[in-house]
């Protein structure tokens, strides 16, 4: 196990995140502009330092189309029945995907309505 180094504010969130390699379903549970925690109900074969790609489906903000993001694993958390990963966002090259991620962060960190 490693340790997360995120210093920016994490906010509780809810978005579906599908591990591209193997279509493993998961959930983004907390989020900041530099990283997120992804919880999987199935074990995933990864280690600290690996980079994974997930498709994010943010169904509660219809203005955010599904997008992909690459995440570097900073922490592996076994918390049955959950298998969670603390991750850091890798550089997002596609501007549309970078914008989508920022919108997701903004949605969950935005003021109460």
């Amino acid at each position: 196990m490693g340790s997360e180094q995120r210093k920016d504010l994490r906010v509780p969130s809810y978005a579906k995140a599908v591990l591209v390699d193997g279509h493993v379903p998961g959930y983004i549970r907390d989020l900041s502009s530099s990283g997120c925690q992804v919880a999987f109900i199935l074990p995933v074969s990864v280690a600290v330092g690996d980079v994974i790609s997930v498709q994010v489906i943010a169904e509660h903000d219809p203005t955010i189309a599904p997008f992909h993001v690459r995440l570097r694993i900073r922490r592996v958390i076994e918390d049955p029945p959950w298998h969670s990963l603390g991750t850091q966002v890798e550089t997002i090259r596609d501007p549309k995907e970078a914008e989508a991620f920022e919108k997701l962060v903004s949605y969950y960190s935005g003021p109460a309505t």
């Binding site: 969130s13 809810y14 279509h23 379903p25 489906i57």
Partner: protein, 187 residues
């Protein structure tokens, strides 16, 4: 965020916190409201309780939106005899249990999450539905009960166009270290 309300184990009487969730509410507000409730120390972590409730609530909200149902969804969190009991009542029309990738009565410990049925279900729904809400709830809580209701709130078998919604009841007991049960008894 400041605690909104607290379900304290040292109360001798049952106590209920009721949330009325507008299906058009921003989901971030729903998350924040749940986060702000101080849960009693039960066998599983607060985080797991919230994950499971959020997943079921997410399903209910989606069902309300698809049906154009404006009524609120009720979520009751009750502390009684050292147990946390959660009920979720929606008016989303229920769902066809035959379309789930597993049987409603199946033991979650015996489910094969790698079965093609799960992936087929998820692909068929564009990964907007994982088919895991009930599974997660069963893995988290000691007890899980789901009934479909008719327009008089009477239990019924799911029937398209006639079932008005679902009532889900979940419960989990006190922590095994005994701290919760001692507090619950007022000692």
């Amino acid at each position: 965020m400041e605690p909104l309300e607290s379900l304290q184990m040292n109360e001798k009487r049952s106590r209920t916190i009721r949330l009325s969730v507008n299906p058009r509410a921003d989901f971030r507000d729903v998350i924040r409201t749940l986060e702000a409730i101080v849960l009693p120390p039960v066998r599983v972590s607060d985080e797991h309780v919230r994950f499971a409730v959020l997943e079921l609530l997410n399903n209910s909200i989606r069902a309300h939106k698809e049906k154009g149902e404006p009524r609120d969804i009720s979520v009751d969190l009750t502390l009684t005899n050292g147990r946390l009991v959660v009920t979720i009542r929606d008016f989303g029309g229920g769902f066809d249990p035959e379309k789930l990738p597993y049987g409603l009565e199946e033991d979650p410990a015996l489910l094969d999450l790698h079965s093609p049925a799960f992936e087929e279900y998820q692909k068929r729904n564009g990964f907007k539905r994982f088919g895991m809400g009930i599974y997660i709830a069963k893995k988290t809580f000691d007890e899980f009960r789901l009934i479909f209701l008719d327009d008089r709130d009477k239990p019924m078998a799911w029937t398209a166009g006639k079932t008005t919604g679902t009532l889900i009841t979940l419960s989990v007991g006190a922590r095994l270290d005994g701290s919760a049960s001692e507090a619950a008894s007022g000692e």
